[in-house]
């Protein structure tokens, strides 16, 4: 599904990613963990096509496409979905209008018929139920006046409607209380399918109790310094990241 090869990326001239290699197959859940500033969100942003990041070296192959050549909207239409760490408030644009425009653009790209207002409403009501989102949020402006938990749930709701092939959850757990975390994780689990993959970017191990990963990768200073199975996450919870940082300095 996704292959990242020797990826280097900078923000404003500072190199953040310094050679990432990662392979994600269909049906897998990968967790990317790491301390603050290690480049986790940069990696998520590069995958979604955030233009403030410059890729200086390496490539990303996504389902046979050269991902870095694709505009953010083209990536979304090909099934990439980023759940934002900080979902954006858009005054004056209703949640449903926004999502309908997105869904229909994706459907059109797939050669499917666009949904009309009634079909769309039926779909969003069903999906709102699935992720336990308050229906009154649907007609409100995108994320405006939403609580932190509602914003994160709205991301998962959008994911449920758009049905991506590759979902990237960027710190979807940070700032959530345990109940909100559980509902968000439940939503993600309900959407898991054998042909879909998920990359969970997180600082804390807690989320991985609910979204159980197949692989865990530790990102330190822009490199993956350790990969393993889900037990690695527990080990990190115990020992923190410092031992890996020292290890990476030694290896370098």
């Amino acid at each position: 599904m996704l292959e990242i090869i020797n990826l280097h990326a900078s923000v404003g001239g500072n190199e953040i990613l310094r050679g990432i290699d990662l392979k994600v197959n269909a049906g897998e859940v990968h967790a990317i963990m790491g301390p603050n500033g290690s480049g986790k969100s940069t990696l998520a942003g590069v995958l979604a096509g955030r233009e403030s990041y410059q890729v200086t070296e390496g490539k990303i192959i996504y389902n046979g496409h050269d991902l870095l050549e694709m505009a953010p909207e083209a990536r979304a239409r090909e099934g990439i979905f980023l759940a934002f760490q900080y979902p954006v408030e858009i005054p004056g644009v209703s949640n449903t209008y926004f999502l309908k425009a997105g869904l229909n653009a994706i459907r059109k790209h797939k050669g499917l018929e666009e949904l009309d207002a009634i079909e769309f409403l039926k779909l969003v009501k069903e999906k709102a139920k699935l992720v336990e989102m308050d229906e009154t949020l649907l007609s409100r402006p995108v994320n405006q006046g939403f609580s932190g938990g509602e914003k994160k749930r709205n991301e998962i709701f959008q994911m449920a409607v758009l049905e991506p092939k590759l979902a990237i959850l960027d710190e979807t757990d940070s700032g959530l209380d345990i109940d909100a975390l559980r509902t968000v994780a439940d939503g993600v689990n309900k959407l898991r399918r054998p042909d879909n993959s998920t990359i969970v970017v997180t600082h804390y191990q807690r989320l991985l109790n609910y979204i159980v990963p197949d692989y865990v990768h530790v990102l330190v200073d822009g490199r993956i310094v350790k990969s393993g199975r889900k037990q690695l996450a527990l080990e990190l919870e115990d020992k923190g990241y410092d031992w890996l940082r020292d290890e990476s300095v030694v290896n370098a």
């Binding site: 979604a48 505009a71 909207e73 980023l82 004056g92 926004f98 997105g102 653009a105």
Partner: protein, 452 residues
């Protein structure tokens, strides 16, 4: 050198003024017996004032950012009388927005055959100002030119000098109008550059309630000049919404003066939407001359190409315990230029005033610009006045968010621009206008996107 330039300028200005002075002589002759009416004394005083002050220049602080030379140097011919220009109800249908009560003014003159006013409640007068000059002398003498005074500037002086016709609306005491009244101003093509001076008088009686829309449109691609003046009196405890939509052609010059006089406990709401015209200047003044007044003056301007749109507003708090709210939003693309000047006076007696002014601008291209200036002059000490102005581009993070959901860049930008405009449009209480404006803005964004 400077002196020579000034002398040359003065000479040019005299030539320009000369044109209007001789036009006035022709106008006067066309009046025949009407020149004996008392209003004619005022016309003469106004043309004398124009001869003295002429058109404003950019040396004048109030006109610093708007150069009216393109208007002043043209020999616009005044339209002295009503001609239907062969217009039919079908020709104008698309401008009526389905509002049932319709008064049509063609090139400044009221058109009885195109208007539809038979459904108005008894006692409500809507029609021609020319007719009111003859029949409603009491109201005319009490109000006409009392609020918008010709001494103020050359445009008002010209409007008063050439005062002949326009719309007259009188809502008597306690009448509540269920449906809005649409005053539709159409400029057609009489074959040469022309000027019309529609002059409107709107009186909302004590405890009355109404909504009135003024729409300015073109059925010509020729150069012309609309010099419109509306005087609006909102009586005690009356509730009035007055909206103005200007969608004239790209060749039109449009100068509009709207003077609102509010009496105690009245509630006035206005939305001035400017989308058309090559050069537009709106002078909007609300005088809050009683206690307990609510006054809302909102606006939206969309500039593209080489359009120049200038909104000058004055909210004059003359009495205590009044609230005013002002929100003006601008969207400027291409090489368009916007000006916003919002003055708020709080007079010595106007304690407990609460005045809020906001001006927000989206500047969408490097060559577009906006000059914005709030001006607060406060002479009372127990008041709350806030103002704020912003100039910005579209939020890149929001654009990325929309794109990350599959929406292409052009559409993402349009969605955000549309939302920015809707913030004003959604406040309109005249529903058919709201719907049409949404559609018009949508179409305009689409056209601009296709041109890119």
């Amino acid at each position: 050198m400077r002196k020579e330039n000034d002398a040359l300028m003065a000479q040019q200005m005299n030539v320009r003024n000369e044109w209007y002075l001789s036009s006035f002589e022709r106008f006067e002759k066309s009046l025949n017996g009407e020149a004996k009416m008392s209003v004619h004394t005022m016309r003469r005083a106004a043309i004398a004032k124009f001869a003295e002050i002429g058109f404003p220049t950019t040396h004048d602080e109030e006109w610093k950012y708007t150069d009216v030379t393109p208007i002043a140097r043209m020999h616009f011919k005044p339209i002295l009388e009503y001609k239907s220009a062969g217009l039919t109800a079908e020709d104008i249908e698309r401008f009526t927005f389905g509002i049932p009560n319709l008064a049509v003014i063609v090139n400044g003159h009221f058109s009885k055959e195109l208007s539809r006013l038979s459904d108005l409640p008894k006692g409500v007068r809507t029609g021609s100002l020319a007719e009111a000059l003859r029949n409603d002398t009491g109201i005319i003498e009490n109000h006409l030119a009392h609020h918008a005074r010709y001494e103020e500037n050359g445009f008002l002086a010209l409007s008063t000098a050439f005062l002949r016709d326009g719309a007259f609306v009188h809502i008597p005491e306690k009448i509540v109008l269920e449906e809005p009244i649409h005053l539709l101003f159409i400029s057609t093509n009489p074959g040469e550059p022309f000027v019309s001076h529609p002059r409107n008088l709107i009186i909302a009686g004590k405890s009355s309630q109404a909504a009135i829309l003024e729409t300015y449109v073109s059925l010509t691609s020729n150069k012309y000049f609309t010099n419109a003046v509306s005087e609006i009196v909102v009586g005690e405890n009356a509730v009035l919404e007055h909206d103005k939509l200007q969608v004239e052609s790209e060749q039109a010059f449009h100068v509009s003066t709207i003077h609102i006089h509010q009496e105690r406990n009245s509630n006035f709401v206005q939305h001035a939407i400017t989308m058309g015209g090559l050069l537009t200047r709106n002078n909007i003044t609300a005088v809050l001359s009683g206690e307990g007044i609510e006054s809302t003056v909102n606006g939206l301007y969309l500039g593209t190409g080489t359009q120049h749109i200038d909104n000058h507003t004055v909210i004059d708090h003359a009495q205590p315990h009044c609230n005013s709210h002002e929100l003006y939003k601008g969207i400027l693309s291409g090489k368009s230029r916007g000006v916003f000047n919002g003055k708020i006076f709080v007079r010595k007696d106007a304690q407990k005033t609460d005045a809020k002014q906001t001006n927000k601008n989206l500047v969408l291209s490097d060559e577009a610009s906006i000059d914005t200036k709030p001006q607060l002059e406060i002479f009372a000490n127990d008041v709350k006045c806030t103002h704020g102005a912003t100039i910005g581009q579209l939020d890149e993070e929001a654009i990325f968010y929309l794109r990350s959901r599959g929406i292409d860049l052009g559409k993402a930008r349009d969605i955000l621009i549309f939302a920015f405009a809707s913030d004003v449009v959604d406040r309109l209480n005249i529903e058919p206008l709201r719907d049409h404006l949404h559609a018009m803005i949508h179409d305009r964004l689409e056209t601009e996107r296709e041109q890119k």
